[in-house]
Amino acid sequence: MSLTFNMVGGGGGGKLKDTDAVLVVTVPTGSTVTATKGGTTLTPTIWVKAADQALDCAIFSIPASQFDSTTPWTITATDGTNTASKTILIVSNKEYEVKLSYHVTSEYQEVEFLQSTGTQYIVTAVKPSDVRGGTFSFNKTADVNYAFLWGAGSNSSNVENALGFRISTGGNQQTGLYFGAVSGNTSVTVRTATDYDVQFACASGSQAIDISGVTASSSYSGSPTSSYYITLFTFHYANTVKTAEICKAKLGHIEFYNANNSKILDMYPCYRKSDSVAGMWDKVSKTFLTNAGTGTFVVGPDVN
């Protein structure tokens, strides 16, 4: 085995010995990484840019004298604010791969999604009046009439003064982004068993949504003044969560921005390692929000 890499930022590259194990650690750009086992701490032999420009790969050359089938290496990355670590056994001159991110803290295991089967939901600490944009990914597994993926409304009418994203039709109400009123929604088609990545921006007189490349907009000049907290997997209005309309869907990472383009919610699906309880870790409030409904979320595969 002989591998040659180009170094990040140019440089002459480097070569790793055939007899060494190669450990490739993918981290967010700007991180520093160490590999520690017992009293030995290694720094990367080479840094290379990952295909995703937001990530770098730290390449470690682990000599054969350090191969160990019982004591794992602890790989730690930090960007000065956040720290992430994982352990890995390195036993032969193969290539090993570790991915580290700062999406969740070390108490949690990130997963690809949380899936509600129709009775699970999460109440956030964000109100519609605070939100002026965001991104999220989802997959509707089955239709539930009128169901929202997330949202909150007012006292008198379920969509008046609302902000939310409806993924199933009901009566004459369409799927899409609701902003201020039922008449002001930005309608988009949502199919079952389809992965969607969504971006949206909303202000009075200007709403726009991009759902996996399909765009829609509205110039409705409403205002989402709801004072209820946005719920995930259903809708919250009149101080009541609509438990009869909890959607059946998978929800991945979701983030919301305020009028100053600052993140006010940045949630990653995960489960708590100590008891395997599923929920969303919010990087902004540094809180772990769990199911406020009944039953248990299905969790997606671990993100390694």
Binding site: G118, T141, A193, S276, G295, T296, V298, V299, P301
Partner: protein, 104 residues
């Protein structure tokens, strides 16, 4: 509410075999049989130790195959069922029309 059967690794099965644990749950109500067998279900109060030594506490449900597999199985099932319902509706309409001709 569906009845599923769990092997010693808490893998889901829709048919019983010796030594399996029988569970009744509504978690899989909207899942077809093929998709159910792509999941691990650790019941409440139970623990499962992964190969890497980590302990998973029940209740915990997670696909054990790449998630595209249960999704594809479920999608195919939904299509087959929709096609079957269309065929059934067409057959009923054909019989109805034939009956109306006889009556008429």
């Amino acid at each position: 509410m569906k009845t599923i059967y769990l092997d010693k690794d808490y893998m889901c099965h829709v048919n019983n075999s010796d030594g399996m644990l029988e569970i009744k749950t509504d978690i899989f109500d909207s899942f077809c049989d093929g998709a159910i067998e792509c999941y691990r279900f650790v019941p409440s109060g139970e623990k499962w130790q992964r190969l890497d030594g980590k302990i998973i506490h029940g209740q915990f449900i997670q696909p054990v195959t790449p998630v595209t597999i249960p999704d594809a199985v479920q999608t195919q099932y939904n299509r087959d069922e929709a096609a079957y319902m269309e065929e059934l509706a067409a057959l009923i309409e054909e019989i109805y029309n034939e009956d109306m001709e006889v009556i008429g």
